[in-house]
């Protein structure tokens, strides 16, 4: 199986134009939410309100927004540390995200885990561990269960260029290929792993390896939310059709340092300049302006929502120290993963059709 661009496959499958204007607005909104939340979180961090360190995905918003947008409520996701928009798409509220960053009792992990290390099982997500890319195997295992039970569900996870060097990348890719599982691997190639450039991680672009595992690898402009949606949509169709996994390489750029403390001296200025011209949000805004949408209005709404959310989170309580050792073990019945929000209009129409029949 040769590598192909998402566009190419898109044409082949005639899978273009899945997005209505409302969907394209949703994508913009999700990306704006991510950016505004992270901007605000960064200033809260500088004010000492966010403990530990802080990681963001500035400039990469399209990767998580576009991919998550193509996933159905019953699908399951492992969201990584540059993928805040995916949490938004699934229905996690900004208030709980701020509370999470600030280690409040009302955050997704209730202060047990930090910053971006979270996932809300109530919306079908399993929170990432720090060890990269361990979640590739967890996602593969979820897909394995779906296949065993004959369920029409797909698992998806993101992972970075650096984490492709870890053994778990290989064990997951190989396992998913051997068992032809309904799983989507989104490689977030943002040019760096902390300070380490690509050529120290691999001699050949990892998307080329998909074929060596027996499935499709596609390369997508990771700064184009709609292209990300299309590629993920197709990957999901393949998975549902029993054609196995897909690896999607989203080519993008980490526009901020690895974490709050990192001044990224090691990144050539020109490189950042180059990529700044390809901002995924400006790109989506331009598209929607052409379509006559008032994007300023949307940003204003987002900012308002974020202000309110931050305020609410700031006034929410810290966890009670007396609960610090609770819940190491589960007692009683395990909580099931619940379905998440799936705002793409296509799902509603599909649902409608099913209701009719």
């Amino acid at each position: 199986m040769a590598t192909e661009t998402a566009q190419a496959t898109a044409q082949r499958n005639g899978a273009v134009g899945h997005l209505q204007v409302e969907d394209r607005i949703w994508l913009l909104r999700a990306m704006l939410m991510m950016r505004r939340i992270e901007e605000r979180a960064m200033s809260l961090y500088r004010q000492g309100k966010v403990p530990g360190s802080f990681y963001d995905g500035f400039g990469q918003e399209a990767v998580s927004a576009g991919a998550a947008f193509a996933m159905a409520p019953e699908d399951r996701l492992c969201i990584l540390h540059r993928d805040l928009a995916a949490h938004i798409v699934r229905g996690v509220t900004p208030t709980r995200i701020f509370a999470q960053y600030m280690g409040r009792a009302t955050g997704i992990t209730g202060g047990r885990d930090g910053n971006v290390h979270f996932g809300d099982y109530r919306v079908g997500c399993v929170g990432m561990v720090s060890m990269l890319p361990d979640m590739m195997l967890v996602a593969t295992g979820m897909a394995m269960a779906f296949k065993l039970r004959g369920e029409r569900r797909v698992a998806l996870t993101w992972f970075g260029d650096g984490s492709t060097s870890r053994g778990d990348f290989h064990e997951a890719m190989n396992w998913a290929g051997v068992q032809r599982l309904p799983v989507i691997f989104v490689l977030e190639n943002n040019q760096f792993a902390y300070s380490t450039p690509l050529d120290k991680q691999f001699a050949v672009d990892p998307v080329e390896r998909a074929a060596g595992y027996g499935f499709v690898g596609v390369t997508v402009d990771g700064n184009d939310a709609e292209a990300m949606f299309e590629a993920t949509y197709e990957a999901r169709q393949r998975a549902l059709a029993g054609e196995g996994p897909t690896m999607i390489e989203a080519v993008t750029m980490r526009m901020h340092g690895h974490a709050a403390h990192d001044d990224m001296k090691y990144v050539p200025k020109e490189m950042v300049e180059e990529w700044r011209k390809r901002d995924p949000i400006e790109r989506q805004e331009a598209r929607l302006r052409k379509a006559g949408v008032d994007v300023e209005q949307i940003d204003a709404e987002v900012r308002e929502e974020i202000d309110a959310a931050a305020k609410e989170a700031l006034s929410s309580p810290m966890p009670d120290p007396s609960t610090a050792t609770d819940g190491v073990f589960c007692e009683g019945e395990p909580e099931p993963l619940l379905d998440g929000q799936a705002p793409w209009s296509g799902f509603q129409s599909e649902a409608a059709l099913e209701d009719d029949s």
Binding site: R76, I108, T109, R112, D113, H117, F118, G119, D120, Y121, V126, G127, V129, S130, M131, D134, M136, L137, V138, A139, T140, G141, M142, A143, M144, A145, F146, L148, A155, G167, D168, E171, A172, N174, W175, V178, G327, V328, F329, C330, E331, G332, E333, P334, E335, P336, L337
Partner: protein, 321 residues
């Protein structure tokens, strides 16, 4: 009631759970068509099919990691490590992903990892290890270690029904050497210690294969009344049972087959030194394998594994204390 070997009891337990609950999924290397390196799942494919008795790729991190994924979406995976030694290759997924999941985000990982462990048959440095101590030290993981056929089945039931990751230590040297009456059908052994023999002069605390070593070593010690406490569950540790035995016997020998430093026995001895100090009429004596890889050649292996003689000697000395 039928007399079963320890190994047959594990097989019987697995079969019962597979029949009772279709969420139970067996995963491992060569467990399907071949029936497992030790034949624990022999014949399972015929009854349950290749999908539920899954021959996996040779990838321990993959086995544990995908089992975690299956577990969080409602399966009840039971993973077999071909030898417990190989869990070192799946260590990260087990301690970091499975062990910390529920505490971090309230998501349970009902996962059992079967770990054929222990030495005594010239398995050498990579087929004889007792890794339980590593997992006792990892938060969020339970550890059980049956010593009898009855408990092998009962603890397997408990492990599979537990909503947490459980390391099920099955001692290879007991597979065919230990035989006993095992109740038919499904029953559960509580995650608590068991008094294997009650006594009043001294208690030997052990688990797994060492329970039998302890029983044999203390069968006839010049008429002394020796209690043997079989821990059965190492994490959480049955502290009450340990303190109760020490309270009644006042002298303690702690035996484990694992390497000495930071072993289960170290935790047990430390517990006693802190919480039963006033009950003690002598030092808390430990017998364990020294900090050495388990050698292959019989004379060397016999020299390092805790023997009946060493345990008897330790008891005799302590009785005279």
């Amino acid at each position: 009631m039928a007399p079963l070997t320890y190994l047959q009891a594990i097989s019987a337990g697995l079969r019962d759970e597979m029949r009772e609950d279709e969420r139970v999924l067996l995963m491992g290397e060569d467990i399907g068509v071949f029936g497992g390196a030790f034949k624990v799942t022999d014949g399972f494919v015929a009854e349950f099919g290749l999908e539920r008795v899954m021959d996996t790729p040779l990838a321990e991190s993959g086995i544990i990691g995908t089992a975690i994924g299956a577990a969080v979406v409602g399966m009840r995976p039971v993973c077999e490590m071909q030898f417990s030694d190989f869990i070192s290759c799946g260590f990260d997924q087990l301690v970091n992903v499975a062990g910390k999941m529920h505490y971090r985000q309230g998501l349970a990982v009902p996962l059992v990892v079967r770990l054929p462990s222990g030495g005594g048959f010239s398995g050498g440095p990579f087929h004889s290890q007792n890794p339980e101590g590593w997992f006792m030290h990892a938060p969020g993981i339970k550890v059980v270690a049956p010593s009898t056929a009855e408990d092998a089945k009962g603890l397997l039931h408990a492990a599979i029904h537990d909503p947490n990751p459980v390391c099920y230590m099955e001692h290879k040297h007991l597979y065919r050497r230990v035989k006993g009456e095992v109740s038919e059908g499904v029953f559960e052994t509580p995650l608590t210690a068991r008094v294997a023999r009650s006594g009043s002069d001294l208690v030997v605390i052990a688990y797994g294969a060492m329970v039998h070593t302890a029983l044999e070593a203390t069968e006839d010690l010049e008429g002394a009344s020796i209690e043997v406490l079989d821990l059965r569950c190492l994490k959480p540790l049955d502290e009450d049972a340990i303190l109760d035995s020490v309270g009644r016997c006042s002298k303690v020998v702690v035996v484990d087959e694992a390497n000495f430093t930071c072993a289960a026995g170290a935790q047990v001895a430390a517990l006693i030194a802190e919480r039963a100090f006033e009950d003690l009429d002598g030092p808390v004596v430990r017998v364990a394998t020294p900090d050495v890889p388990i050698p292959f050649s019989p004379p060397l292996e016999q020299a390092v594994l805790p023997s009946v003689e060493r345990v008897r000697e330790a008891c005799r000395e302590l009785l005279e204390y």
